[in-house]
């Protein structure tokens, strides 16, 4: 859990950091969609290759990246194993009680594993290299059509910004509480699931207390500094779209088209 980096912004200066945040989101979504419609081995080789390039270019470091995402990779791996054991169809290689290993199961499981792998790598890089304020702004931009059904976009933007801003703070808080309860003899790793849930209560109760306390304090300080809701707000950071951004968008669209064409049966 100490190396849990999903969703954490890591300040840096590499190429990916300098891309337009909206472009990054569009590109990420396109690549994830591409990996979900793909059935083709060559397609996955291309997509994983792109993932590799992205990790390399982002300059966050491979060992760090793998350490941080290994929890998710382990989880999808486990799901795939279950899928292999419980799916039935095609050629059956092995059979015992309710467990079956079949060609159909292997196919489904490997597809699912590769798809989620691509999605997690891309999402992690996106969140690691994009400033929370920019993410909030992007989300606000995406929600723009909701304006016409009477949703207040500024509120959405603010709520997202606060939520993202407090992610690292709460992570730190969880770590502190874990350490405190570990010092009182809680063993979080090596015990039964029921015991593990019980030990997590020792973290969750104080965590909720502190979240409510923080929320109250934050609300109070916002009011004290003259915050009123329902007013339109401008952003301190204006994102601009460069030629390089357009180039990247074209490249991503080409990749998307390539994957699409690989999966269309003529």
């Amino acid at each position: 859990m100490n190396n849990f980096i999903f969703g954490q912004y890591i300040p840096g200066k590499s190429l990916i950091y300098r891309l337009n945040p909206r472009l990054k989101l569009i590109a990420s979504v396109l690549l994830i969609i591409a990996s979900f419609i793909n059935h083709n081995l060559l397609g996955f080789i291309i997509l994983l290759g792109i993932c590799g390039v992205i990790i390399q270019v982002s300059q966050v470091g491979w060992i760090f990246f793998i350490k941080g995402t290994q929890f998710f990779i382990y989880m999808i791996f486990l799901t795939s194993i279950l899928q292999i054991l419980f799916s039935n169809g095609g050629t059956i290689y092995w059979h015992y009680g309710i467990f079956t290993i079949s060609s159909f199961g292997l196919q489904i499981a490997s597809l699912a594993f590769l798809r989620f792998l691509v999605a997690i790598v891309i999402l992690t890089v996106y969140l690691m290299t994009t400033n929370p304020a920019e993410i909030a702004q992007t989300i606000q931009g995406i929600c723009y059509p909701l304006k016409f059904v009477g949703v207040n976009l500024d509120d959405i933007g603010l709520v997202t910004a606060i939520a993202l801003r407090f992610m690292p703070t709460l992570t730190e808080e969880v770590n502190n509480l874990r350490n405190a309860q570990k010092s009182r003899g809680v063993n979080f790793e090596k015990c039964s699931i029921i015991k593990r849930i019980k030990s997590n209560i020792a973290i969750l109760v104080p965590l909720f207390m502190s979240v409510f306390r923080r929320a109250e304090q934050l609300a109070a300080t916002m009011i004290l500094r003259g915050y009123t809701d329902g007013k339109h707000r401008t952003h301190i950071r204006q994102s601009n779209w460069s030629k390089f951004d357009s180039l990247i968008l074209i490249v991503v669209l080409l990749i998307f088209g390539l994957i699409l064409s690989l999966n269309i049966n003529f």
Partner: protein, 286 residues
């Protein structure tokens, strides 16, 4: 129980762009049955250092020797529970760790985790709650209904009830008013002599160091710069630490009055010195 650090180094997020060396080649001994204070600016590595003392963090180089147990980077997490039984840790704002429905249950949490029976845990909890000065009437109350100072003492009892031989505290007095802080510190001093506890305490308060510590360790940029007795730390001119208020006051007095130039470092010493120097009839001055 004595704790020794041998050439200990610690780097956060090893092999990553966020890699940060918090401790560099530290060799240090915390003597048994003594109260050692660790001082230093924010970011000097104090908090990291104390996390190494009960196995919450494992040194990335060198070894930590706790009693006769050695922790180095090859130590398995299974072996750490014994270390944690021997070394109790009280964190900053420790009142935030309380979670049970009643005060008594919260204090029983630790002993139960370390394998005590329900009956033993109740007895330990009652004993230590009494020691830290929590009234019997409060035992069945929810911990969140207590005052800040009381909550902190309950949290302290929660750690003491695990019967550690070493007690490590991260800024025990932070956020407390003067009287609560004095009470807490005298309580720790009493526990030290009564139960032979070894106490290690991170603090920003030079007054606490001058008044209560037997030893003091000064940290800077992840290294130990001095390791001495408080009286020596504050009385030598070359020390670049902030002086306790009593000493600062005496220094100002020295500028305008001809008085003994040996600095008193805490309030009691200051008062005694002043009483001696400024006798109403026939003192050295006025």
């Amino acid at each position: 129980m004595e704790i020794k650090l041998k050439n200990v180094g610690y780097t956060y997020h090893l092999n990553s762009p966020m890699a940060f060396t918090a401790l560099k080649n530290i060799t240090l001994t915390f003597p048994a049955h003594q109260l050692t204070a660790i001082i230093g600016k924010t970011g000097s590595g104090k908090s990291t250092l104390i996390k190494l003392l009960n196995g919450l963090e494992i040194p990335t180089s060198g070894e930590v020797v706790i009693g006769n147990q050695v922790i180095d980077k090859y130590t398995k997490s299974k072996q750490l529970n014994l270390v944690r039984k021997n070394v109790g840790m009280v964190f900053q704002f420790s009142e935030n760790q309380l979670f049970s429905e009643t005060v008594l249950k919260d204090v029983m949490f630790g002993p139960l985790n370390f394998g005590k029976s329900e009956q033993e845990a109740v007895e330990l909890a009652k004993f230590w709650l009494a020691k830290v000065g929590i009234d019997k009437d409060l035992f069945e109350q929810a911990p969140f209904e207590l005052s800040g100072g009381q909550m902190r003492r309950v949290a302290l009892a929660g750690v003491l009830a695990c019967e550690p031989k070493v007690l490590v505290l991260d800024e025990p007095g932070v956020g407390l008013d003067y009287v609560s802080n004095q009470n807490l510190m005298s309580l720790l001093k009493k526990l030290q002599s009564q139960f032979g506890l070894t106490i290690i305490m991170v603090t920003h308060s030079m007054e606490n160091v001058a008044e209560f510590a037997d030893h003091v360790v000064v940290m800077k940029n992840g290294a130990i710069v001095r390791q001495t007795k408080p009286i020596e730390l504050f009385s030598t001119d070359d020390s670049k630490v902030e002086l306790p208020e009593a000493a600062q006051f005496y220094l100002k007095l020295m500028k305008n009055h001809q008085i003994e130039n040996e600095l008193p470092i805490n309030k009691t010493e200051l008062i005694n010195r002043l009483l001696k120097q400024f006798k109403p009839n026939g003192g050295t001055h006025e």
